[in-house]
Each structure stands twice: as C-alpha cells, then as structure tokens.
C-alpha cells in the first residue's frame, strides 16, 4: 500500500522514486499533514495556551488568574455542560434522521441515488448567513411551522420554537446532516447486498437485520459522521447565537464576547482551550466505549 506514498508525496514537492516510496512508513504518510499542522496549527495553539496564562486583560503579568476565574465559577461549568449536551443532542437527532435516510439511499435506483446525494449536500450549498435567516422564517412566530400548526388548529397560540434549544437542535440537524451523511453514505454503499439477503432468507426480521448486520457494517461511517457532527455543532458559533438567541449561552459565544467586545484575550483563550479539551475528552470517552463494546462483540 506504500505506493500511496508516491501519490501523496509528489504534491508535497518530493519526486518519490518507487524504491524510496516503499520505505515510507505509516508515520511517513502522515508526516506531510503533520508538518503542515506543525507549521500552521501547533504554533498558534501554543500561543493560545500561553495567552491563557496571562493574569490580566492587558497581558502584562503571568498567573493562573483566568484559569481560576473560569474553573471556580459554577456558571462556566454549566455553560460547558450545556455546550457538550447540545453537541450530543445534535448527534442523536442527526443520527435518528440520517440513518434512515442512508437506508433509503441504499435501496434507491442509481438515478434516485443521484437525487438523494444532491439533497444530502444541499445544506452545505446555502451559506450560513442566509441559512440562519431561513430558520427564522421556518421556526419564527409567524413562521412556516406556526402557520401550519395554527392553520390545522393544533394550537391556539404560536409555538415558541425560535430561540429555544429545541429549535436550535432542529436547525443544527439540518446544518450538520451532510457531515453525517457523506461519510455514512460512502460506507453504506459498500455493504454487500448479499449479506442482507442472506440475513432475510435466514428469517431475521428487518429490525434484526438492521441492528445485527447493517449497523455493525456501517459503524465506521456512522462513527466518523457522528464525530464530525459533534465537533462542529459544539463550535457552531453563528447558528448557536442567531438561532439560539441570548437566552441560551454556549461557550463559543462567550469566547467571542470576551475576545472581541471586552478585549480580554487571556479569558477568551482559557475558555477556548477549555472547549477544545472538554470536546476532545467526550470524543475520547465515546471512542473508548466503542472499542470496549467492539471487544465484547468479538470476544
């Protein structure tokens, strides 16, 4: 497989002779991206860490003041928890809707698959600027959903959807769905249909086939998608603040206020690192649980 190195290394500016390519290890393949990260990501990240250890807004002395201020305040912990929960809710909602969509895609004819793929990427094509406006239109007091609900007589008063967590999760479900679907569809499409036929002909119910055959085979794609959805909904500053509104406080908005309006970079840096660490920790825990579960299944 190290032939891949030839393809990967060439654009990085190295003419890779096959003999040399063969020597490239897994680490060698990861190196070009690693180097790009070292140059463009690690250094800024370290600066951010350094900034968080300034004691004062003007960044004149070192100290743990900002960390103390962040960690010793229950409100900040609540905001962290709310942010992580929002991410988890988005993951659950996108999976609940996205997985059946992927099944639909699997079973569709090539022509319909084309249409469904186009539908799946649609949210990415509408800029975040106007997408948030569309959600105001749909969820608003005089919005599409409320017109429908009032018109059908399902409620006497307009429902409050906009600027609630429910509304935010609904809109994030749309916005993040492509991140779930693209990895999932590319993996689902590879599942051998004969396995499903075999499962059915052995008398398994469709539910059993879903949980025992499709889900395990689609797991890598589903996991990748969930990770992307979780990471990007916890950091989706614009959607969170425009659709969520001021009653819902999440960490990215706090970071924005502190960095930009108050010009308190040390505190903003502290909050940014706290977000990075807590989101990564949740991902690691889920990945660990996944490995343990997989170990049980195989053992």
């Amino acid at each position: 497989m190290s032939g891949a190195a030839a393809l990967a290394a060439a654009p990085a500016g190295r003419a890779a002779a096959p003999a040399r390519a063969r020597r490239l290890t897994p680490w060698g393949l990861a190196a070009p991206l690693g180097l790009a990260y070292a140059a463009f990501f690690v250094a800024p990240l370290l600066m951010l860490v350094a900034v968080s250890f300034y004691a004062d807004e003007r960044m004149t002395r070192w100290g743990l003041d900002q960390w103390r201020r962040f960690l010793l305040d229950g409100f900040h912990w609540k905001v962290v928890a709310d942010t992580l929960l929002l991410g988890l809710k988005s993951v659950v909602a996108t999976t609940l809707l996205g997985f059946p969509f992927a099944l639909l895609y699997r079973g569709a004819s090539p022509r319909w698959q084309r249409v469904l793929l186009f539908v799946a990427v649609m949210p990415l094509l509408t800029s975040v600027v106007v997408r948030t406006f569309a959600w105001i239109v749909i969820l608003g007091r005089e919005g599409v959903v409320n017109q429908l609900v009032l018109g059908l007589g399902l409620a006497a008063e307009p429902l409050r959807l906009l600027q609630t967590e429910l509304g935010l999760v609904i809109s994030l479900t749309q916005i993040e769905m492509p991140l779930l679907l693209l990895p999932l569809l590319s993996v689902m499409a590879r599942i051998d249909p004969r396995l499903l036929d075999a499962s059915a002909s052995l008398g398994a119910s469709p539910w059993r086939t879903l949980f025992r055959v499709i889900l395990p085979l689609a797991a890598p794609g589903l996991a990748a998608g969930c990770l992307l959805v979780f990471a990007s909904s916890t950091t989706a500053f614009i959607s969170q603040s425009v659709i969520g509104g001021g009653r819902l406080v999440y960490l990215p908005a706090m970071i924005w206020q502190q960095a930009m309006v108050v010009a308190n970079w040390p505190f903003a840096a502290t909050a940014a690192i706290a977000l990075l660490v807590s989101v990564s920790a949740v991902i690691a825990v889920i990945a660990y649980a996944g490995r343990v579960a997989a170990g049980h299944a195989h053992g």
Binding site: Y37, A39, L97, L179, A231
Partner: protein, 275 residues
C-alpha cells in the same frame, strides 16, 4: 403461521418508522433550501418570506459586473482559497489517513486525535492566534495565509471520511495483489484507490464547502485586497437585508446541480459510490 405474522408486523413497523424518519430527514434537509431559493426570487427590496412577486432582478444585479464588483472579487478570492486549500487538504489528508489506518494502538489514536483537533478549536480563537503567530514571523495578511489557515481547518473532514472508507478495506485484498507480484503503486491504484474513492470525494467536497463558508479564520487573515465572500455577505445581510445574499446561495445550488450532472456524465461519481 404465527411466526409469519410476527415477521409481517415487524416489517410494517420497520417500514413505518424508517420511512417516516427518512421523509422527515428529507423535509428538514430541503425545507430551508427551498425557503432560500424562494426568497431569492422575490420582487421586494429586502429579503423576506413569503416573497413578494417573482423576479430574477436580484440575480441580474448579482451578476452585474459593475454594481456587484466587490462581491465578484470576494467570490474569486473565496473560490481560489477553497480550491487550493481543499485540494491540498485532500492530498495530505488522504495520505495521512492511509498512514493512520496502519497504525494501531495508543500512538495511532493519539496522532488521530491530534489531527482532528482543529475541528474542535473555536474558529475565532484559532483565527486570532494564527494572526498573532504569522505577524510574529513577519507575514502580513494575504491569500496565502488564508489558504494555510483553511488547510488546517478543513483537513479533518478529509481525514475522517477517508479513514472511514479505509476501515472497510480488507487488507487481505492488497496482500493478495502484492503476493501476486503487483507493485505497491499498482496495488494502490487498482485496489485501494477505487475502494476509497467515494470517501475521498466526500471528504474533498466537505473540505471545499467548509472553506467557502468559513468566517472566523478568513476574518483575521484577510487584508483589504483579500476580501472574502461570507464576510461580505454578513455585512450585506446585517445592514440592508440585501436579497443578493439569497441569490448567492441560489447560484451555488444551481452550480452544484450542474456540477453533479457533469460529474455524472464524465466520471460516474455515484456509480463509483455504489461500487
């Protein structure tokens, strides 16, 4: 007899639940886009829904070389940055995913977590820190810096999607090809690449769109000459509810639709996606 009935019931419940959820997914995916498209054809002077009348004048204004010059310039910059940064991210990310797929154990997982971390760092914090860092090195804001920043931010998308495709790959296939005397390059081209192509395509597309829609990194790394589209659109939306903002999205949807038709004709994207 009873068994058949139970199976029948479970088939019905399966169809109802899965079908219902899939339809809901379709509605949620398409609804907002339809709202945007409808709004972009309004005859009113500001973005509003339901639209008033039907008119393509906002598209005409958007395409007007004189009156939308700044938008065109910003769109050009944005496309250039997205193509180069997503292109680089696809190449480097695919290579890295190939490497990581062969690394087991704690070190591999740590490397994987590290390479995913830009996705988790708030863009605003990264943008500010990157500007501090590049200034320290003596660089001024420019398109090159935006590309460098975007490369880091969009690479995780490629890494994840290609990684997911690779985990399905049976190593025995490749071993078989090698043991039959095929060169590694040949093995990669004929076996690995076709199998992970859908993953690469999906990752490249996600990376491209993430770059096109990026606000925070662009905000800090752009200069007066490297105006970027989403930032310009924010200004238009916030101060005047400019309908051209919706027309930009309408144009993108149309472009993607045409691109999909073209790709279908020439490379059979979905055919490969199905395998």
């Amino acid at each position: 007899m009873r068994m058949a009935r139970r199976r029948n019931a479970s088939e019905i419940s399966y169809g109802l639940v899965m079908g219902g959820l899939a339809v809901l997914a379709l509605l949620i995916l398409v609804g907002p886009v339809l709202v945007v498209l409808a709004t972009s054809f309004t005859d009113s002077r500001s973005i509003r829904f339901p639209p008033e009348g039907f008119s393509i004048r906002w598209y005409a204004l958007l395409l007007d070389a004189g009156r939308s010059r700044q938008i065109h310039r910003a769109a050009g910059n944005t496309l250039q940055v997205a193509l180069v940064s997503a292109g680089l991210a696809t190449l480097l990310g695919t290579a890295a995913a190939l490497g990581l797929s062969r690394l087991a154990g704690r070190a591999g997982r740590a490397a994987d977590a590290f390479l995913m971390s830009p996705l988790v760092l708030p863009g605003l914090a990264f943008g500010l820190a990157a500007l501090m860092y590049f200034t320290l090195l003596g660089f001024r804001p420019s398109l090159e810096l935006i590309i460098a920043g975007h490369l880091v931010v969009v690479a995780p998308f490629v890494l994840r999607t290609v990684g997911a495709s690779l985990s399905q790959l049976d190593p025995a296939l490749l071993d078989a090809s090698l043991s039959l005397g095929a060169s590694p390059l040949h093995g990669f081209r004929r076996i690995t690449l076709p199998l992970i192509a859908p993953g690469i395509a999906a990752g490249a597309f996600l990376a491209f769109m993430a770059s096109v829609d990026n606000v925070p990194v662009s905000l800090f790394l752009s200069s007066a000459r490297t105006d970027m589209l989403p930032i310009r659109m924010w200004g238009m939306m916030e101060s005047t509810l400019d309908v051209r903002v919706a027309a930009v999205s309408g144009t993108l949807v149309l472009a993607a639709f045409l691109l999909m038709l073209v790709m279908e004709r020439f490379t059979g994207l979905t055919r490969r996606m199905r395998g």
